[in-house]
């Protein structure tokens, strides 16, 4: 059992209903200052006829309700969260302290540059550090998440080729890639073409060679790849793409594995996006916000989204908006600033030496946990050593016991842990993708491994225990098919049969 997580002997009560059920007509939490100017109304033809049916509750109702809901949720602060590909590391609290400084938190995005010199200098230093980590020349901090960073990089790719007078239509993506890659490629106006993996889980270089021609705008690659394995032939791959005038794009989803060890720029990548919420600090907040800065090599700097931070000769910082070859804007303002402050705190708190150690510990923890788990869940690609995460498979266990990895995951919940990612990447059957991150201790890793081992053992002797899990949670397994068939997406409305 996980010592750090709340261990429940019986299921807590399910939710006492949604907040609207706590309503009482006329009750309210909000009190405004008295209106101290003459009252004015909007013209009748613009006016709202019926009030919006928001909940009518007092502050104490709010506090009890949302505190109760928070207690029905699991976070990294509750216990380990080994979701492969998501990088759920512990985030130091100091990042929260500094992001809440009024000079950052209360700054308006359209203030004159002269009044936000502190923020602009922070962004400038962060950009320099990101470029040092990735080996890029300049970076935009505007994209609010990795997927938007991908879009940014692909539009840069498009603009670059258009300027070369070359109409390219295809972007190559390994078959193990995250779904955002193909989705971004299509939205950027390209055709996504899959590149198969070889028997070691790496890019099939022979198959890639067949696909590389002058129709190709670029290749998107994660390295270590989505299976957690390092693409050893990266130089050859990059050279192959460059030889036909195509660009090589680095998806930074796994940058946390290689900081201080190898840089995308030195591997031959032209464009890099960084998921600051994975690589550095941001507490994820139930699925966001993040930030997805994009770095580029020298020949692509002109295409970066405008504006970017510039430093004048007198040392003053400003937004450089006059960038005629820029692809334009991808966000309403200049990015998820409060997330970038946290990234700064993480980068400069750890320092260059600390960031290198982060990658070392991430690899050590993943390899250690893998060693403990492989007797029950063999690696999907045992021919290549994993780096910061590993993909195991429950295929053999399923064949022997009929127990699926989803059952293992649910049983691990009852044993006090958040399970790993399951059924991703799609190219591995009964996939379990495990990323312990650098922040977990040996004791925690031992505990996690014990939970997986115990669940695997139970699959042989008491499979129903797994099929019925979880039983310690506020609700047990939920009927997802029904949720999609009989849509109920808001209170008040009945379910809509599909």
């Amino acid at each position: 059992m996980n010592e750090g997580a709340p261990v429940r002997t019986q299921a807590p009560a399910a939710s006492a209903g949604t907040i609207d059920l706590r309503s009482s007509p006329g009750r309210r939490a909000s009190v405004l200052a008295p209106l101290d100017v003459p009252g004015a109304e909007v013209p009748a033809d613009h006016a709202r006829a019926r009030p919006a049916a928001l909940p009518e509750v007092a502050e104490i109702d709010l506090v009890r309700h949302y505190t109760m809901l928070s207690q029905q949720n699991y976070g990294v602060d509750t216990g380990p969260y080994p979701l492969g590909s998501c990088t759920m590391k512990y985030n130091p609290k100091v990042a929260e302290t500094v992001a809440a400084f009024p000079g950052f938190q209360r700054a308006h995005p359209l203030q004159p540059d002269s009044t936000v010199q502190g923020t602009l200098e922070m962004l400038w230093r962060l950009e320099r550090a990101l470029c040092e980590i990735t080996g890029m020349a300049r970076a935009t901090l505007q994209p609010p998440a990795g997927a938007c960073g991908e879009m940014t990089g692909l539009l840069i790719m498009r603009a670059f080729h258009e300027d070369q007078g070359s109409a390219r239509t295809r972007v190559l993506i390994p078959d193990s890639a995250h779904g955002t890659n193909p989705a971004s490629v299509r939205l950027a106006g390209f055709e996504a073409v899959g590149v198969p993996s070889d028997e070691r889980g790496l890019v099939d270089v022979g198959a890639l060679r067949e696909l590389v021609d002058e129709r190709v705008a670029g290749l998107m690659l994660t390295n270590p790849n989505t299976l957690g394995l390092f693409e050893e032939r990266i130089e050859e791959i990059a050279a192959m793409l460059h030889a036909v005038g195509a660009l090589v794009y680095y998806d930074g989803a796994n940058l946390n594995a290689i900081m201080g060890k190898v840089r995308p720029g030195d591997m031959g990548f032209d464009i890099v996006h960084i998921n600051t919420h994975k690589t550095f600090a941001t507490p994820h907040g139930g699925g966001g916000p993040g930030a997805g800065p994009v770095g580029v090599a020298e020949h692509l700097v002109d295409y970066l989204p405008a504006p970017i931070v510039a430093r004048d000769h007198d040392g003053a910082f400003r937004w450089d908006r006059d960038r005629p070859r820029s692809i334009g804007r991808l966000h309403g303002f200049n990015g998820n600033m409060a997330v970038l402050v946290r990234a700064y705190a993480y980068v400069f708190g750890h320092g260059g030496d600390g960031l290198t150690e982060v990658s070392e510990l991430a690899a050590l923890n993943a390899n250690y946990l893998a060693a403990l788990m492989v007797p029950d869940f063999p690696l999907a690609y045992p021919g290549s050593p994993p780096m910061h995460e590993f993909v195991a498979t429950g295929q053999a266990l399923k064949k022997e016991t009929g127990i699926k990895v989803t059952d293992i995951a649910k049983r691990v919940i009852d044993l006090g842990y958040h399970p790993s990612t399951v059924y991703f990447p799609l190219v591995v059957e009964e996939a379990m993708m495990v990323e312990p991150t650098e922040t977990e201790s040996k004791q925690t890793l031992d505990g996690m491994a014990e939970a997986f081992r115990r669940a695997a053992g139970e699959a042989h002797i008491d499979p129903d225990l797994l099929r019925e899990a979880p039983v310690t949670t506020p609700v047990r397994r939920l009927d997802e098919a029904r949720a999609a068939r009989q849509l109920k997406l808001r209170w008040g409305a009945g379910a809509t049969p599909d």
Binding site: L54, A159, G286, L330
Partner: protein, 422 residues
Amino acid sequence: MLATIGRGSVGELFEQIPSAVRLDRPLAIADGVSEMELVADLQGLAGRNRSADDLVCFAGGGAYDHYVPSVVWALAARSEFYTSYTPYQPELSQGVLQVLFEYQSMICELTGLEVSNASLYDGATALVEAVHMAMRPDRTRVLVSAGVDRRALDALRTAGRGAGYTPEVFEGEAAVGGDVAAVVVQHPNVYGVLEPARERFAEAHAAGAMAIQIFDPLSLGVLAPPGELGADIAVGEGQVLGNHLNYGGPYLGILAARLADVRRLPGRIVGETVDVEGRPGFVLTLQAREQHIRRDKANSNICTNQTLMAIAAAIYMAWLGPQGLAELGRHCVSKAAYAAASLASIPGVTPVFPGQPCFKEFAVRLPRPAAEVIESMVGEGFLAGVAQPQAGNDVLVVAVTERRSRDEIDAFAAALRRVVAA
């Protein structure tokens, strides 16, 4: 641990990296520092900023200094919400899932529409997603009202470069042809003016196009909701719902639509269902729309979103309640009207749209470039508003939220009088 994995050193774990590309020197980033040194560094940086904390804020343009009540972040920052991830394991995530379901419900109540997703990045990116929802193979033109915020329009132009459309800006009536996918109207518009949105949306529908409204969530206590005006999709900037200014982000992209279009909605959606014992519970639903299933056929590439901001927004909306929402709207209308009248009495300052009803922003023409006046007003202790150069470099748009007192408005008018006379 090394013995367990059969390695002699941690360095061996990186041996598969070809030596030719390995970094053979330490990162050129200073060594790590203690927490107290880091705090001092960032305190220094933050201290070099001015902000709405020490300047009286009349700036708007998509980001507003509304009051954020203590209860919002006292609850949203609870670590079980704060440090969780996308609720892939619903049994461990009922808290976040239920708050998102409540968020979706309240956005529907607010907008008069039938479905809402669980958040997008911000208002500008929500507009892009709405336009992509409206696109059809035979309808690829997008008509955008001249009153739409130029940053949102820029974001749409950027996205159009990839997706193969160029937004067309129209003034007055929209000439909607059979090849138009969507007509976009911002109401209240970028100058604060109330638009004849009903007419524009009727024109869109007559030609079979979708009507998209960019709305201000806090206007909907006093203004008719998008669903009633005929909007098929409503998008808005949710920063105003309990989120801090944060120099532009993270904010909250709101997107609500009609039930008929639910399968074209971008991003996460939470649905209610039951568990094996028949108890109600919540899950992510209609996931077949999303990139992780549909890959290159997906309508949107969004994965990481702004859930935390949606959690704050849900708590804030419940804090407001129907009466608070209506009262807050009336305060904005009244204070903006008072401020507009005060500024109009300054020699050389004239309303850009005289006699036009506004919500919380209004536009004035100044005798000097707006950017210069804004700089000078900092010296007087004010963020005076935002420039809107597309309407002329002398145009200043002033925002007045419920936070601004009569004394502050009077002091603002007096300072502006001095500055434009100088």
